[in-house]
């Protein structure tokens, strides 16, 4: 039947590709807008395991106490927040094995605690111990 095939028009079956880039751009812009780049940032520490008690000689421990009003006591001396970093740095230089034991009151604010921890981190004190409040 030659007539049938001859009569049918040859259709162009290609998908139009001209707008592909536009569609892709639109999707791209959507993902650009929805992507949140803000990474979680914070001060990381590792808590001591439960029941883990290690004997540490007294000379390797530095006590840092924070009371309910946010006052800081570092080895029996009251210090200001901004003095914590140089003092700890100095102590670390004298004794590299120094452990800073941070103890807070139950009513100390979290911000104060983070401030102090921040100072300790700035002094490169990596051995920080979090003691239970009394």
């Amino acid at each position: 039947m030659p007539k049938l095939t001859e009569g049918r028009r040859e259709r162009n079956v290609e998908i139009p590709m001209a707008s592909l880039a536009d569609i892709a751009f639109l999707l791209l812009i959507f993902f650009l807008v929805t992507t949140t780049i803000d990474m979680d940032k914070g001060l990381g520490i590792v808590l001591p395991a439960k029941g883990e008690q290690t004997e540490v000689s007294k000379k390797n421990i530095s006590n840092l106490l924070i009371n309910a009003r946010g006052q800081i006591l570092l080895d029996e001396d009251q210090v200001a927040l901004r003095d914590v970093e140089p003092l700890v740095r100095q102590k670390m230089a004298e004794n590299p094995n120094l452990i800073i034991s941070v103890k807070t009151d139950r009513r100390t604010t979290y911000q104060r605690y983070v401030d102090v921890l921040d100072e300790l981190k700035q002094a490169n004190a990596n051995r920080i111990s979090i003691a239970n409040p009394e």
Binding site: F25, M39, D40, V46, Y110
Partner: protein, 135 residues
């Protein structure tokens, strides 16, 4: 006029590979987008300077502690005493788990210490105090 014999180059940028480039960018953003977002509690994070990025988002559990002592893990409110069970389960499923603590800057350390104790009970010891840079 010898100068006129200069070849006429067409000034068009070849756009045939444009969709490929766009698709590649698209795929990059699709892969890097994290759509899993938690609602959380309304807290004001404390400020700190020496903050570090969390290495990965995959092994992180977010915990919110509001000023009034409300605790929320994965958008579920819970009592402080139950934290150890949830965290233990999570730690068994993923031993590398890190807890990102988003506590209000005005909350008492008593709350935070209780939370520390719960984490120690659950043996989930890696903790990150989520904070923001000072403005």
């Amino acid at each position: 006029m010898k100068f006129k014999r200069k070849e006429e180059s067409s000034g068009d940028i070849p756009t045939s590979s444009l969709p490929d480039i766009i698709f590649m960018l698209l795929i990059f953003f699709m892969v890097s987008t994290v759509l899993k977002e938690y609602q959380g509690l309304s807290v004001i994070l404390p400020e700190a300077e020496k903050i570090e990025k969390l290495e990965t988002k995959r092994h992180v559990t977010y915990v919110w502690i509001a000023k009034d002592g409300t605790v929320s893990i994965d958008d579920k409110l819970m009592e402080m005493d139950n934290v150890r069970h949830i965290m233990y389960e999570k730690r068994v499923n993923d031993p590398q788990i890190t807890v990102s603590l988003r506590a209000d800057k005005g909350s008492n350390m008593g709350l935070i210490t209780d939370f520390h104790q719960e984490l120690r009970e659950a043996d989930a010891l890696k903790i990150n105090y989520s904070s923001r840079t000072e403005a």
